[in-house]
Amino acid sequence: MSDHRTHVVETNSHLQKRGQGHHDHDDHHGDIAYHASFKGYLVGFLLSVVLTAIPFWLVMAKVLPSSGATAAVILGFAAVQIVVHMVYFLHMNAKVEGGWSMLALIFTAGVVFIMLSGSIWVMYHLNTNMMPMHDMRTAP
């Protein structure tokens, strides 16, 4: 255990020296693998403001005639905004942690998709096979 620790420390100081010597695009990070820029945060923030404002406007001003179309459009905006946050705020790309972060993300997204679509599908059919409840929904 102590051997391992000293080894890690050595690697870190080694990286730090190399980073200072090469004088990369940002020579401050040195020990921690983190690359953020003001421009990136600003672009992400402006994009997310726009992607938040439009769905709220669509719903609050009742722009589209049908609820189904509005729902589809705002879900699309949400999906785009999630990607924007992942890229600009969480700095997600295929290179983080040697690609393992992206792999975990893709795996999780797959599990979530299967779980959500499966649950909604099954429960919808169970609901329609239950006692007739259709009248309740349209009642005032």
Binding site: T11, A33, Y41, F45, T52, F89, G98, Y124
Partner: protein, 208 residues
């Protein structure tokens, strides 16, 4: 393990081909990302619950009756502002400015507190109107999903204050930088979850 020829006396020294170079420099960040992914599964289950139960009003109030969209918009703005102010804290960390980090972390915490206050006000208002979690399956799943997110924000703020004390005491050492990166992932992740909440719960719940 009855015989270990490499350790026998007089044998040649074992050769290790693992020089450690392929190890990630910070296993903590990958580990924390994996935790966030598991947290993502928790939220996915709660979203699934809400998707199934969200229209079961039990002849009670619906989302269109209850949700106050301007309040939700203000809430969303608080969380978005807190995201970019946390980003500014990270930029200050990269520049090695301790006081800048503390200042932006403080501002982030205030936005987080504003978000929580608005959410608690909304919850109190709903419960006061008789639309508490026990009223219908819709409200049970609503309070569970939004409340779990609020609980995450609460713990995020506690962590943030703790980290401010740590940065103030220890400065921008490697350990504190690592903690700052972890909290940044946590904080931005909560913002991502909130995108799902305001779209799927509030906006779609208000649609006729």
């Amino acid at each position: 393990m009855s015989s270990s020829p490499t350790l026998a006396a007089g044998a040649e020294a074992p050769v290790f081909y693992d020089d450690g170079h392929h190890h990630p420099e910070q296993g903590t960040l990958l580990g924390f990302w994996l935790y966030l992914m598991s947290d993502c599964l928790i939220f996915a289950v709660l979203f699934g619950c809400y998707a199934v139960l969200g229209r079961s009003y039990a002849a009670g109030p619906s989302g269109a009756d209850l949700f106050d969209l301007p309040l939700v918009a203000a809430n969303t703005a608080m969380l978005l502002f807190s995201s970019i102010t946390y980003g500014f804290a990270m930029l200050q960390m990269q520049a090695g400015r301790k006081n800048g980090v503390l200042l932006w972390l403080g501002i982030t915490g205030l936005f987080g507190l504003a978000f929580l206050s608005l959410e608690l006000y909304e919850f109190a208002h709903l419960i006061h109107e008789g639309a508490g979690p026990q009223r219908s399956a819709f409200l049970s799943s609503f309070f569970t999903l939004v409340g779990t997110h609020g609980l995450h924000v609460t713990f995020g703020i506690i962590w943030l204050v703790t980290l401010m004390v740590q940065v103030n005491r220890g400065g921008l050492i490697l350990e504190n930088k690592r903690r700052l990166v972890c909290l940044s992932m946590f904080w931005h992740f909560l913002d991502v979850v909130w995108i799902g909440v305001f779209t799927f719960v509030y906006l779609m719940g208000t649609l006729p």
